[in-house]
Subunit: 414 residues, 2 copies
Amino acid sequence: MELMEMGKAAAAVKYALACMPEEEKNRALLAAADALMQDMDLILQANEKDVRDGEAKGMHPGLVDRLRLTPERVEAMAEGLRQVSSLPDPVGEVLDSFVRPNGLKIEKRRVPLGVIGIIYESRPNVTADAFGLCFKSGNACILKGGSDALSSNLAITNSLRASLEKCGICPDAVQLIADTDRVVTEQFMRMNGYVDVLIPRGGAGLIRTVVEHSTVPVIETGTGNCHIYVDEFADLAKAIPIILNAKTQRIGVCNACESLVIHEAVRERFLPALAQTLREKNVELRGDERALEAVPGMTAATEEDFGTEYLDYILSIKTVDSLEEAISHINRYSTGHSDAILTEDTERAERFLNEVDSACVYANASTRFTDGFEFGFGAEIGISTQKLHARGPMGLKELTSYKYVIRGNGQIRK
Amino acid sequence: MELMEMGKAAAAVKYALACMPEEEKNRALLAAADALMQDMDLILQANEKDVRDGEAKGMHPGLVDRLRLTPERVEAMAEGLRQVSSLPDPVGEVLDSFVRPNGLKIEKRRVPLGVIGIIYESRPNVTADAFGLCFKSGNACILKGGSDALSSNLAITNSLRASLEKCGICPDAVQLIADTDRVVTEQFMRMNGYVDVLIPRGGAGLIRTVVEHSTVPVIETGTGNCHIYVDEFADLAKAIPIILNAKTQRIGVCNACESLVIHEAVRERFLPALAQTLREKNVELRGDERALEAVPGMTAATEEDFGTEYLDYILSIKTVDSLEEAISHINRYSTGHSDAILTEDTERAERFLNEVDSACVYANASTRFTDGFEFGFGAEIGISTQKLHARGPMGLKELTSYKYVIRGNGQIRK
C-alpha cells in the first residue's frame, strides 16, 4: 500500500482506538496472542526464508540469531500480548482538574498520542511487542522493520491484522511498511500530520539517521555509554559484584556498564582485585595512565574509548581525584542513559544523584536495572535518552499525551 | 560569540542552574526586573534605532507596533519577571516514588530540561519573558530574536546579563545570538548535545521552517485554526456572544475562532442574526452553499478557506448534518489547538470533547481561554499544538523533564 494511504488509514482508525473501552482492547490482545499461536507454522516458515536469505548473504551469526524465531520465541510474543492485556489502561486517567474563578471547569485528561511510527532492526518480535503496547495505549501504529526480517514481519502482522478483523476492529490499527526502499523510509520520517511520533529502536546508527532526517517528533532511545564511579568511600566488597553484574550479566544491552571511573584514593587497593575478577570473565580493560600503573599489562585507553558504547567484553577505566571530577567526566562522556556511584557517604551520593544529568542515576546498584520490567511498568517500548516527553524506561503511560477538556456555561474572555 | 562557544557556555552553566535554590533564583529575577527599569533609557534608545530602521525599510505599521517599546512596555517586562519570581519553583518536585521487591528505592524527580533554544520574531518583550520562565525553571536559554529587533534584544539581554553577574550568577544563563545570518540560525537548529529543546514562537512560516530544519527536539507552538460548532441543541442566545468574543475580542491571536461549523437544523434560524452582529464588527463571512442561502451576499468559501488561520476579521462557515460530520470536519481542518461545541445536550458535548483531537476542547465557552494565565499557570511560554511532551498552554512545569533517582545497597540484576 502506498505510504500516504497507510497514513490516512491510520488517521482514520485512531479516533476509534482512542475511545475504545479497555475490555474490548484486552479481548483483542488475547485474541491476537491466540492468533500468533495458531499461525505459528506460517510465521516460522516465513522466518525460515528470512534466515536462509540472511545466511546466504553471509549475515553475521549474531544477527542471524537475533533474526531467528523458534516456537518458544513465538510463544514469548504471544505471552507478551497477554501480559499487556493485564496491565491497567492509561487512557482516560484524569491527571488534574480545577475550576477557574469564572466557573470554567478544566480537566487534564490522558489521551493516546495518536499514530506511532516505529523503525526497528532485525528482531521480528518487536513487531508483536510494539503492536501490543501501542494498541493497549489506544494508538495506531505503523511499523517499519528491517528488510532482513520482512517475511517474518509480514507473517506476524498478517496474523495480528486478521485477528483484529475477527474481533470487529479495523485492522489498520497495525500496519507494516513492506517497501524496503530507502526513499520510502525517508518519506515515512516526514509524515507530519499523519504520524504523531517516531520511535527508532536499534543501534546508534539507526537512531542518528532518524534524528537527522525526521521532521516528525522523535523519541531517541537506547544508546547507553553507562558509567560506574567507585568513590573514595565505596564499600569495595560490594563494588566488585555490582561492576561484574553491570558489565557482564548481558553485554549487548544499552544499560550495561561501559566505563569505570575510579577515585585515586582507592585505585591501588581496588583495581588489581577488580581486574582479576573481570579477566576471569574475559573482559578487556582499557585504562588511563594511573589505571595502567595499578594493573600492569592493561591496554591504554584513548580519548575515543571514553566515548564508546562497546556492547562487548571491554571496559574503559578513568582515574579521578575528586567527586567533582567524576561528575564532570561522566556528564561529558555519558549518553545520559544510566550512571551509578558506589559510596557509603550519603552526602556524596546525593551530590552525584543531583548533578549527573542522566535519565537514571544510581547509588550502590547495578545500572542493569534501567528497564521497564525492572521498574515495575510491566512493559517497555524503549529507554528514552532525551529529555523531551519521556526519559528512561517507557511503558504504556509514556505512549500517551493529554488534552484539556474545558466545560463552561457561556464564558467569554474579558 | 561563535555559536558553538555559546552552546558550551550554556552547557557549563546548566548544572549550576539545575541545583540553584529557589530563593537565589527569585532574588535574581527581582534584581533583573530592577535592572530593566534602571536601563530603561538605554533599552528605549536601542529600540528607537530598530523602529527607525524598520520604518526606513517600509515595514508594515502593524509590525512596527509589535516592535516598538514604550516605558509602559518595558515596565510590563519587569513586572513579568517579578510575577515569575512569585510562582512556585517546579524543580525538585517528586512526581512518584516506589520501592521494588529487591529493595531498590526509585524516585521520579522533576528536573530542568537543560538548555532551551527559543527562536522568535519581532516582539522584543519575548527576550525578557523567555529568560524569566527558563531561568525560574532552572534552564539556561539561548535566544534568537528577529533581526529587525536586534538592537532592542541586545540592550535587554545586556541588562539581564549584567544583573545576573551582580548577583554572582554566571550571565551565560541567558545568551542572545547576535549574528543574523541565516546559516547561523540553521546551525542553531542542529546543536544536538548542546540544546535540549527548541521552541519557535511566531507565525506559521517560522514554525514550519524550524520543524523542517531542526534536528534538536522541537515543541511546535501556536498555529490555531480554531473552530466553534453550533449544535442542533445549542442555546442560540448564548452562542452569539461566545462567537463574537472568540472571533473579535483580539483577532491576531492563535486562540481566536477562525471557522464556524453549524448544524443544518439551526442554520436558518441562527445565521442571519449572527451575520448581522458580526458585520457590525466588520467581520467578513465566507460560507458554504447552505450558509450563503441563509445569508444572501456572503462570500463563497473555498476549500482553502477551511484550512486557513486568518488572524483577521474573516470567519469561514461550514454547514453539517450531524454531530459526527462536525467532528470529522474539525478533525480534518483544525490545527489541533482549540475547538468548541455549543450545545445544551450533555451527551453530545461529551462526545465532541472525547472525539475532537485538539489540545483544548471546549463545551459552551470561548476558545480565547486557551492561555497560560487564563488556565491559572501564572505564565506562558507558548501553546503547544503537538502531542509530544506538552500540549496546550505551557507554563513553568512544561519547561521541565524528570530523572529517575535510584538508591540501593548493593543490588545486582539476576
